[in-house]
Symmetry: C2
Amino acid sequence: MNLILIEPQEGAPDGRVTLNDHRAAHIRQVLRAQPGAVLRVGLLNGPRGTATVATVDADGVSLHCTWEKDIPPVPRVDLLLALPRPKVMRRMWAQLAALGVGRILLTNADRVERVYFDTHVLRPDIYRPLLIEGLQQAQDTRLPEVSIHKQLKILVEDQLDRLFPDHLRLVAHLSVRRPLADAVPEDFAGRLLLAVGPEGGWTTYELDLLARHGFAPVGLGPRTLRSDTACLALLTLAHSALAADDGKPQPQSEDRSL
Amino acid sequence: MNLILIEPQEGAPDGRVTLNDHRAAHIRQVLRAQPGAVLRVGLLNGPRGTATVATVDADGVSLHCTWEKDIPPVPRVDLLLALPRPKVMRRMWAQLAALGVGRILLTNADRVERVYFDTHVLRPDIYRPLLIEGLQQAQDTRLPEVSIHKQLKILVEDQLDRLFPDHLRLVAHLSVRRPLADAVPEDFAGRLLLAVGPEGGWTTYELDLLARHGFAPVGLGPRTLRSDTACLALLTLAHSALAADDGKPQPQSEDRSL
């Protein structure tokens, strides 16, 4: 926990916050913070800041927070991910949030088993704490938005243009030679939508559908990676390709609701 | 299992191999291969090839293998890794082999706990099958060489120059802004030695030691990643930076023994 995230409703307008859950335990037992200590904090979907420890006792830890003026930008990569097996998905939540994604769209695909959609790993009460764990690791405050789509065709044909009108769209596929970095223009200052397929890959039909809707194919080199490793590797490469342009204005869609 | 790896001592000179362990179970139950089916195989540290299934019965699966002429090159990245917690290390073996490393040097560091070296996860009988699992995923045959070093100073001062005389040496550290890609010359055709620190980072002393021995510092951007995620991200970026030069001759050290 490199930054302690606080929910907006937990903070009083004067910056005072009292914690008495696992975060308080972390402050007491791992950070061993005494009154007067200064900790890094963040307001969920808000600014980062610092907190001075006011009191530490059995009832909890009370902090006095001072927030920075700026809010961290939403990560410039959004992810359209064919739903992995529940066990794999569970492991991925924190890592996706740590690597940085603005939005996670989980979709069905031909090689995704329908029963995967019944897992409790897709319940917000399960995945939200895991996403927050990843944000706290990465010192980010921007909670990825998650949505679940049981029909890829409807998502791609009817919803993507409204959700991502200006995104650069890339689809990762095994047999493609072109590296991701080559598909991102050098002066690119916008956002990227990255489609990552299921364990067995996208079908030809799905690749055609994505191609017709502006997704340019990219590959990961000659090694076949496990789908979760591949997804994390692709996110890493996407951020690396975008990093050359960091500091430029980052257009963000205002309408972030599905 | 995208390729079935066979140990050299398992194959007869005429290419016949009989399997009766988990690989036979995989061929029977997952691939549902019948006599006549053709499978992708590899000879450990040797060539890839194809195998025609001769017989499938309760005793095992017998194959007739034909090997390619060329042996896959050793991955061009070697890893000097401060030993992670045993639980994390266990999870990393297959992923490291899948992403591709020639050699894995596990080292002590100030922020590595000494007891980590006592774990069974460092026993070849535990990690070798995990490395092979990663190779089978990535369709590689080159088993990473593993060595364990309890004193970073001795390793860096007395052994590295002999082991890695010509490697480009990079050390990853959190506060460094320079991306890995910028540290690899465009026409670089050699091998890379990447040093990755422990959960809490390298100490100033360790960074100085590495700098004095030719390690150039690189960073991963503003997000703090879990050390295992960071390691996989760095390996991904290293391969991506080297990929531009794929196809060029790849000098390899002949003496690969420690």
